[in-house]
């Protein structure tokens, strides 16, 4: 049976992390599984976890009054969800909902923040990796906002 450290080692977000760092943060993690349609977190909830997605499909959603939940990004195995664990006020900015059966390693945000304060190299690694992913998502969002598939071809 794979340990939390093994599962983190396999995930691309942690590929450049040293074994010592992985060992250090593995204690913050636990396995979680979500069924299709199940909410992992809702907008405004405390951002208690960084979700390391192992497999499945998790939707990043916003509720559109009278029209339901609008999915603005789907996250799959190999991606992460729940950046707000590292950014004050540590509150989820979107709903997170499993579209398919999804398995994640959930790293406790409070535990991670404490370890980042103890080990600045770890903190820098996690912030650098998070910034890389956040930047890509920001670029993607800007392209989506351009509505390039609109009427003009």
């Amino acid at each position: 049976m794979k340990t939390i450290k093994d599962l983190l080692t396999e995930h691309k977000f942690f590929h450049e992390m040293t074994p010592e760092m992985l060992e250090f943060i593995a204690g913050c993690g636990k396995n979680m599984h979500f069924n299709p349609g199940e909410f992992i977190g809702k907008q405004g909830d405390p951002a208690d976890f960084l979700y390391v997605i192992r497999e499945g499909n998790i939707a990043l959603q916003l509720v559109q009054p009278t029209q339901g939940s609008l999915t603005i990004r789907s996250l799959r195995g190999g991606e992460i969800a729940g950046f707000s664990w590292i950014i004050p006020p540590y509150r989820l900015q979107f709903d997170l909902r499993a579209v398919e059966h999804s398995s994640v390693v959930a790293l406790d945000g409070t535990c991670l923040r404490k370890k980042c304060e103890e080990d600045y190299k770890l903190g820098y690694y996690l912030m650098k990796q998070s910034a890389t992913v956040m930047t890509q998502r920001l670029v993607d969002t800007r392209i989506q906002l351009l509505d390039i598939y609109g009427a003009r071809v």
């Binding site: 499909n57 939707a59 990043l60 959603q61 559109q64 029209q67 339901g68 939940s69 609008l70 999915t71 603005i72 990004r73 789907s74 799959r76 190999g78 909902r97 579209v99 398919e100 993607d140 392209i143 989506q144 351009l146 509505d147 390039i148 598939y149 609109g150 009427a151 003009r152 071809v153």
Partner: protein
């Protein structure tokens, strides 16, 4: 080799015809793809027909009394003399085509433009990246590859659309999703909860593709912003620069390189394109004035 000779013969015969003279075609079938997009099947009204087309080429379609527009061939599955064109209602002339009924007549001249370089894809993995109605000129390419599947390596078709309601070619998509020789992935920019597929920009589907970068050819068509990002996604995945091809859209009027409306740096898109290799157009893709 024989295929090259056939193409040369087609080109020779095309030159012998009056390039300005539209031939009469009749709408045999009209299919609504979604709101504002229709697919028309056209058959010659008389014996004379235009020359056989190749994936990537286009025709000038004439709506009598209204105007003429360039439209890519959208299917070559039926190799008879019928033409299949998919048209989005974006202006007066395209609206006229969308409003046609079976039995109506249109003018057709063509075929024009360069073709997707399928010969370069032989024995190679293929990535086809389509955005929105950019799938239209790519569908004949997919059909050709599927029709001769053993000549190519892994085939990846990555399709991005605005929303689930804007997806076109549903029957083909169902067929492609069921085809074990093809890795078909689709994403939309946004969707409501009844959509269970991917949501996000089309370039992120590259990670879902199976290919050996050095031995891969990429064919891209969509809005130009999407194509720029798609090119970079391919380059980031180590696809060689000269293995990337894109179809550029510009304001084409004459389709023969005379009028200059579609000038693109040293090129006329109608005559030198619309399919270009990335190295040909690399320096022009970021020039806003072109």
């Amino acid at each position: 080799m024989a295929q090259e000779s056939d193409h040369a013969e087609v080109n020779r015969q095309s030159l012998q015809r009056d390039i300005w003279l539209p031939l009469l075609y009749t709408v045999k079938e009209k299919k609504t793809e979604n709101r504002g997009i229709v697919t028309l099947t056209l058959a010659p009204s008389a014996e004379e027909a235009i020359e056989p087309m190749e994936p990537g080429q286009f025709n000038m379609l004439y709506a009598f009394g209204i105007g003429e527009i360039p439209i890519s061939i959208s299917s070559l599955w039926n190799l008879q003399s019928t033409l299949v064109h998919t048209i989005q209602d974006v202006g007066a002339v395209s609206k006229a085509f969308c409003d046609l009924s079976t039995g109506d007549q249109v003018g057709v001249r063509g075929p024009y433009g360069t073709r997707w370089p399928l010969n370069k894809a032989k024995n190679k993995d293929v990535i086809i990246l389509a955005g929105g109605v950019g799938m239209v000129p790519l569908r004949p390419l997919i059909e050709r590859i599927l029709n001769d599947r053993s000549r190519y390596g892994k085939l990846n078709v990555l399709f991005g659309a605005r929303s689930p309601e804007n997806i076109i070619f549903h029957q083909d998509i169902i067929s492609w999703q069921a085809d074990p020789t093809l890795n078909f992935q689709i994403t939309v920019d946004h969707a409501y909860s009844n959509w269970r597929g991917h949501v996000g920009v089309v370039t992120y589907l590259i990670e879902e593709a199976n290919f050996d970068p050095e031995n891969t050819i990429a064919f891209i068509c969509g809005p130009e912003i999407m194509m720029r990002y798609a090119v970079h996604a391919c380059l980031d995945a180590n696809v060689p620069t000269d293995h990337i091809f894109l179809s550029i859209e510009r304001n084409m009027k004459c389709a023969t390189g005379f009028c200059g409306h579609c000038q693109y740096g040293p090129f006329f898109v109608c005559k030198d394109g619309a399919v270009f290799s990335y190295p040909q157009v690399k320096i022009y893709l970021n020039i806003a004035e072109l």
